[in-house]
Amino acid sequence: MNTAANHAEDAIGNGVKNEKQAAAATDEPMSLAQVRQKLKGVEGKRLSTPQTKTNLRGPRLSTPQTKTNLRGPRLWRSLDELADTPEFRAAVEKEFPTAAQEWIDPVSRRGFLKLMGASMALAGLAGCTKQPEEPIYPYVKAPEDLVLGEPMYFATAHPFPTGAVPLLVKSSEFRPIKVDGNPEHAYNRGGSDPLSQGTLLGMYDPDRSQHVLYRGENRQWEEFVEAFTGKVASTKDGTGIYFLSATITSPTLARQWKAVQTAYPKARLVQYDPAIAGTWAEQGIGFQADLSSADVIVSLDADFISGPAYPGFHKLVRDYATRRKQPEKGMNRLYAIESATTTTGMKAEHRLLLRASEVPAFTAELAKAVGVGGVNPPAWDWTAEQKAYLAALVKDLKANSGKSAVLPGLYQDRSVYELALAINGALGNIGKTVFVSEDTVNPLPSDQLADLKALVADLNAGKVDWLVMLDSNPIYDAPADLDFNSAFNRANIAVHLGSHLDETGQISHWHVNSAHYLESWSDCRAYDGTVSIVQPMIAPLYNGHTAHEVLQSLLNQPMLSPYAAVRETWMPVIQKNEKVPGDQELAWRKVLHDGWIEGTAFDKTAKANVQAAYHGAVPTPTAKDSLEIIFRPDPSVYDGRFSNVGWLQELPKPVISLSWDNGALMAGALITKLGVAEEDVVELSVGNGKAQAPVVAMPGHPQNSVTAYLGYGRAFAGRVGSGQGFNAYQIRYTWAPFYAAGSIRHVPGKWGVAITKSHYQDHRSTALLGQGSGDNSLEGDEALGPRGIVRYATLDEFKANPNFAHEGERYDTPSLDTSLFPNWDYSKASTENAWGMSIDMNSCVGCNACIVSCYAENNIAVVGKQQARIGRTMQWIRIDTYFEGDLAAPRAHLQPMLCQQCENAPCEQVCPVGATVHSPEGLNMMVYNRCVGTRYCSNNCPYKVRRFNFLLYSDYETESLKLMRNPDVTVRSRGVMEKCSYCVQRIQEAKITADKENRPIRDGEVITACQQACPAQAITFGNLNDQTSRVTKLRAMQRSYQVIADINTRPRTTYVAEVSNPNPELEETPVEHDPAKG
């Protein structure tokens, strides 16, 4: 933190120091000018907030290099300017018939929608200041089904290479404003994940490319189609026409491709997804597990609970968590064998650290032990610990054959997958807990790396005439050894269809701006195979087009719309479904309404009898002292496709709480060995590729290996993503896509990283009172020890003493009569609703979905790296991570922390203006427009969940972002305190509805945004005065406890203490690790 002072200065927009990017670029002359001129109408509103003028760009990030590199003003002009272009008018008019002006005129925009944070600053002055006149722009012809002010919900799905996420999208005045899982869908049952949540901002991203370009000049789509189809037709058989596409997940697109293939047999399709290529997910096998009936779960480097990168994430997590909610009714046990620290390992009862290359060998040992035939593990000297682990594991598995599941890692050697299958077979799990299906979510399985190599070869051989890249960015993410960049230039014409003018788009001849999935028709399959129709929520903001249209343009109905194509694909199936062949339209509408097509799930019994023998070779681990570099898609930005989504960039990555960066993640021991400190720069090299990265400590990481997240180091991601982190693709090779032997060395320089919560590294101490040993996290010791913030027990302890969560020092909750004052009355008699929340720490898997959901629901601002560095992130909910025990092999406890809504809220008492007071229903209300910003409440909050707008973080200028905001939540201006409100806007809505219908609010009628997003159902919200509500029952459980209750804050949020289910045989195995001092 020794450069914090500088960063603080950067933070105030005062010169860019040694860092790569400055926060809030306040100096973007032209758009400043524009906005000024745009703002003429609202001058009055601005008067009392001069800062809006100087801080127009507010929280947005821009990197010097983006500014210089991005070609011309095109990328840089704000939507304000765009608003005047015919394209935009066109786009908007499609969506908002004849009310286009409403979205273009800066004043009127403020007319209906409650996007008026700007005037917040005026709040108090309302008494002595005039409000400016605001015009109204009524419709000319109002849409039939529109009730202004009432949201509508539509079903769609988020296409993702590892399986689509069925969604239910909230739309206000036909603008999607919130993306959530589809609660009725059998696959994810309403759960979602940070990435799906983030796609909303992805669609409104002001940096999306907005034009069809030919050599940098604006063109019309038709011109492209003409050139393209003309060319292809001229080739007759498609010779020299190559398509490079991201993994195709749309059956319709696959169908269209097949049609193209038949029409032009010589045309080639190459699929390449950096996070999929080389994994078993690209192959034609579907591996599915049903953890709801699995008592023992073994993860072979399978990080199945930290994000959708692992196929089937949503269902796996849901089932995993369900089996942990009621320990008394028995719970599952998770063994995690992993090569990098993940939440999977942190949640596991028993975690075995292996270097990545050791995993296949260990798997082989395991397979052999459980009786898989024909497997011969390479000779390897396993440590005592590993042997003991194996023995216990095997015993446990055999004891639970048929009731266990072994999950293969996605980023492991192919043998691991096959062996896992064999093991499951040997254990008789196939058909019970593990299923295999012939088809997968990608209808055109292929060996992506091989294909890509072939493509490069053809390029170099000059065979490639037109290279058409569909939603892929090879210049950025192709493996280093292919030298794609130079091969690329051999293509006569390069066409790039993409959402951004990214690395590839920059140098392609043609760039076609693609439409976002929320803007276009398509289809895709959830991981269980169920087909979802992707329907547009809004007309393409920038007239984008999709791969469907590109391929369709080559077929005999070139103008056939994606809608028609999709319908063509599925109408037969839909009709088949119908018991009584009825009205097609009705059936189709039902599908759109539900969001999926009945009976399209995969047949999972296909390979039910997997032969329990394995004959493939198992690779020998690399030498123990050699260094391994592990590549994983980033938990937040995946392979880089989400780089420009501020919400995801600012998201603290699981376990290490690192935001805005990836880095060389390594064990403390390695840090010591290298004699470096965090934020020092190291150079990673594999083969002859080199990449420089900041050192970030990752507790529990295997020694002699370094994890590098993909998806960073973008040059042309946009104002948010460009220049963040380092590009790990530079050292990734086709021959080692997941882990490679490499080397590391310390190079001069510092690289500040933003770690969003107190980082155990800063706070170690061997000093007095034995606070923390050098190898422990002081925070962890404090939280688990004397402070009783995290409480847990093993299953046996729990059975022996169900009340464990309330025994021990300061574990007790003070009784209601501890206060000198009479208690405030929250009884049923006094108030119908008393809101409360319960969070099951056993279920929480720390996937961060809640945080992103909260961003969207509550219009939370993104503050940027510099501000994040000095602890000013605005997230209302965060996932506190406490490390228990030796940092070389810790166990992490994940605790979602949000406003506890204390009944005796310390924050309220100290506010001089009564800006935060208590509602009769027990909510701790924060009234933004009353807040003068003394910040006393934040100081006095024991949970530090209040967030302050130190600068003008909210973006009042960018048009597209205004369209995205939730109209029911005020946008907070500079100098105002904010915090979690239990989604009071949803509560109020429910209250008014219930009141109009003259009935009490039903349990589950009010769902908070975090609860809605949680794939593990860890959060429950409801009415404490309703004795039958789920939250009341959870609160009544003995395991429920309140954090820091001993100071009598009486939180309304309670936590259900953890219970783990360790294998007694492995419980006490004291292992000596190297000291992890960093």
């Binding site: 107190s758 800063d762 706070h763 100071i1047």
Partner: protein, 471 residues
């Protein structure tokens, strides 16, 4: 007539062995002369201009910092989560503390009939007022939306919403504003007769009008004098509990909070003691150069410096007791929050600031101030006054910042690094203070002549005033 030339018997009263309060040989006229010439002279000394320029520069720096602050927001400072209060509040508490000496000297010492306070009370009061001005500035500018500051006053606004009187910040509002008002009244009332003197001695018409109006036609009637005396006594009687209450209320800002390290019952007494401690230090910082510069050694004698040294010694020990008590309670209460907070103060990442303050506030002063010889050594006392005030600033730093960096929830622990804007504001406020004080020295009577006259032997109404007196 620098002190060095005066022989020891003039400085020390042979009878008592104490330093004299006033050097011998002063008359009503000479005293009046000494004080009025500073104000009435047409020739402002160059040195004054020198200081004034420096102070002016400081004030300008402050204005720059404030302008940027209003344009950008408090985010230009280092405050963050969890340390939401930083320099601004530290400076506020520090200045208020300094502002305590004046009233204390003029009020409490008056009640205790400490004659020696007469010649220093006036500029001590002025110092108080300017310190309070500097202090009062910070709560206003540190809020996120200063233009809404008037919401802290109970006004009948159209919102129909009122201030929240359970908040210590509201108490501050009233305590500080009251303190400022009373100090000004006390100061002005005390100055009226001297303004009369200036009026009568002024040569230029402008000066006569200026002081004539300010002195509201004071003419020294004994009837007036008697009411005046009563009023002064009453004001003193009122200011005494006030001065004690103000820093008590300030300490409530912290004591009332739940934060470990703030939530402490020892705060009120030891804040008050600390205030007096730093206040007297500041009086010394001003008195020592002043008496030298304006040759006032005869009126501000070693006696004053010596006594103030003693008072600092006492208050220093009270403060020390406060620190000790915190440490003791941390252990004795067996409360983990307390124990950890204390441990963190002393040995945590910010431990350096704790040891710095202990050194500056306790070790150095409390070991040396015993020595009478040093207590009357101007250089030493000047240095000491600076040391103590630095120490007192760090005391507030430790209380506010260090406590905030690590409180209840370990996940939210943070750190704090001041930005250049923080420093500009701090030193700017010093500039403003000096600026105002220099103006005062130049244009207003820096010492209460009427009170000094009382100390002169000539003021004694001798017994041989005729037989009637004896009865």
């Amino acid at each position: 007539m620098a002190t060095s030339e005066v022989n020891i018997h003039d400085r020390v009263d042979p009878a008592t062995g104490e330093y004299r309060v006033i050097a011998p040989g002063e008359s009503f006229l000479s005293v009046t002369e000494k004080v009025t010439r500073i104000v009435l002279t047409p020739h402002t000394p160059l040195g004054w201009f020198g200081f004034f320029a420096v102070a002016g520069a400081g004030t300008t720096m402050l204005m720059v910092a404030l302008t940027w602050l209003f344009l950008k927001g408090v985010g230009i400072w280092a405050i963050s989560q969890p340390v939401a209060w930083g320099f601004a509040i530290i400076n506020f508490v520090w200045w208020i503390g300094i502002g305590h000496a004046g009233t204390l000297i003029s009020a409490i010492l008056l009640l205790f009939k400490q004659g020696w306070r007469n010649s220093i009370s006036r500029f001590a009061e002025a110092m108080t007022i300017f310190a309070v001005i500097c202090a009062a500035m910070f709560p206003v500018i540190h809020v996120g939306r200063p233009w809404l500051g008037y919401w802290l006053l109970p006004l009948p606004l159209t919102m129909d919403v009122w201030p929240q009187f359970r908040s210590p910040l509201m108490w501050d509002t009233f305590a500080v504003s009251t303190y400022a008002t009373i100090s000004v009244v006390f100061w002005y009332i005390g100055m009226v007769p001297d303004l009369g003197t200036l009026r009568d001695r002024a040569q230029s018409k402008i000066a006569q009008y200026f002081y004539g109006i300010l002195s509201v036609g004071w003419r020294g009637s004994v009837r007036h004098w008697m009411r005046y005396e009563t009023a002064s006594l009453l004001l003193a009687g009122l200011a005494t509990p006030l001065v004690l209450s103000v820093h008590t209320v300030i300490s409530f800002d912290f004591a009332v909070a739940v934060l470990p390290g703030w939530h402490t019952t020892i705060f009120p007494p030891y804040f008050v003691a600390g205030a007096i401690y730093s206040g007297f230090a500041m009086v010394l910082t001003l008195a020592i150069p002043l008496r030298k510069f304006y040759h006032l050694e005869a009126l501000v004698t070693e006696r004053h410096i010596d006594n103030m040294g003693k008072i600092m010694l006492v208050t220093g020990f009270i403060v020390g007791y406060g620190y000790g008590m915190e440490a003791f309670m941390a252990w004795y209460s067996a409360d983990h929050w307390e124990a950890f907070t204390f441990w963190n103060r002393a040995f945590g990442p910010m431990g350096w600031s704790y040891w710095l303050l202990v050194t500056l506030n306790l070790f150095i002063p409390l070991t040396t101030l015993w020595v009478r010889k040093w207590r009357t050594n101007m250089i030493f006392m000047f240095a000491m006054s600076i040391i103590v005030n630095t120490g007192m600033w760090f005391e507030r730093f430790v209380i506010i910042v260090t406590s905030l960096t690590r409180d209840y929830l370990p996940s939210s622990w943070g750190t704090y690094r001041a930005t250049k804007w923080d420093y500009m504001t701090l030193f700017g406020s010093l500039g403003l203070f000096t600026f105002l004080f220099l103006l005062f020295v130049r244009f207003l009577p820096m010492m209460p002549m009427n009170e000094i006259r009382l100390l002169l032997p000539a003021a004694k109404v001798r017994a041989k005033t005729g037989p009637e007196v004896s009865k």
